[in-house]
Amino acid sequence: MKKQDENRIKQLLQQSLPPVDPASEPARDLWPAVLRRLDESEAPLRATVGSAPRAVPWPHAVPWFDWAILAGLVLFAISFPATIPVFLYYL
């Protein structure tokens, strides 16, 4: 490409896309928007870091082996009802 062609293209480009005025500034104060953007990005983080541990629903809050011991005791009491007073005495 010749230097002359290159200069013509550059001139055409300058005419098609006029240079921006260096004194241009935003039409509004952007600081509130920056603060909102910061809040939006920090909100999910606060939700995971700052909140209390999530409560577990009731049946899952008790470990399974506690339920197994309770079931064994109930079965034992049904099979041998005479032992119930002895258990109650030692409780």
């Binding site: 490409m1 062609d5 290159e6 013509r8 293209i9 550059k10 055409l12 480009l13 300058q14 005419q15 098609s16 896309l17 006029p18 240079p19 921006v20 005025d21 260096p22 004194a23 241009s24 500034e25 935003p26 039409a27 509004r28 952007l30 600081w31 928007a33 920056v34 953007r37 910061l38 990005s41």
Partner: protein, 199 residues
Amino acid sequence: MPARSENVPERSDSVPEPSDNALNRFRLGDLDAFESLFRQHQRSVYGWILCIVRDPAAAEDLTVETFWRIHRAHDRFESARPFEPWARRIATRAALDWLRARRPESKLATSDFDQDVADLPSKSTPDPGIAAEIRLKTAQAFARLPPNLRVAAVLSVVEEQPHKDIAAALGISVGAVKLRVFRAIRLLRKDLESQGITP
């Protein structure tokens, strides 16, 4: 390197560097120091982004995005280095992301080109000797260029920014900037020739 004309004020290095104390406090996450840096640099960052994206509303949104990115990266800022070039580099990356996400020509094809030019704050007026249709086709052909070539070309050819400033903002060498500008001009010429416009 293109010579900047005398009547165009220098955009770069016009903002005085903030004090070391403010920069150190910003680095530690102090919001007041960040606000002070924002007040000091928002105009230059906005102006730089506007040169790249050429859309005042988008430039405002990208200025907010840039300062959000700056705040997010505060602990990576080296307070011994100047703030302005670092901010400009982040701004350039945000503007490039915006250009990549935007479909080429999406705005130019649907709206009045002359109105868009009139909305852009500019001191120069188009040469009446060049038909509006040719200017529109040139702008459309320019919008079809890859974003990284477009940024280098618009900053160098249209805005007449020094190559070293463009190189610093893009994170590339001065030679790479010159190469991108050359490739942009060559592709633009081919595109215009295919449309029957011979410069």
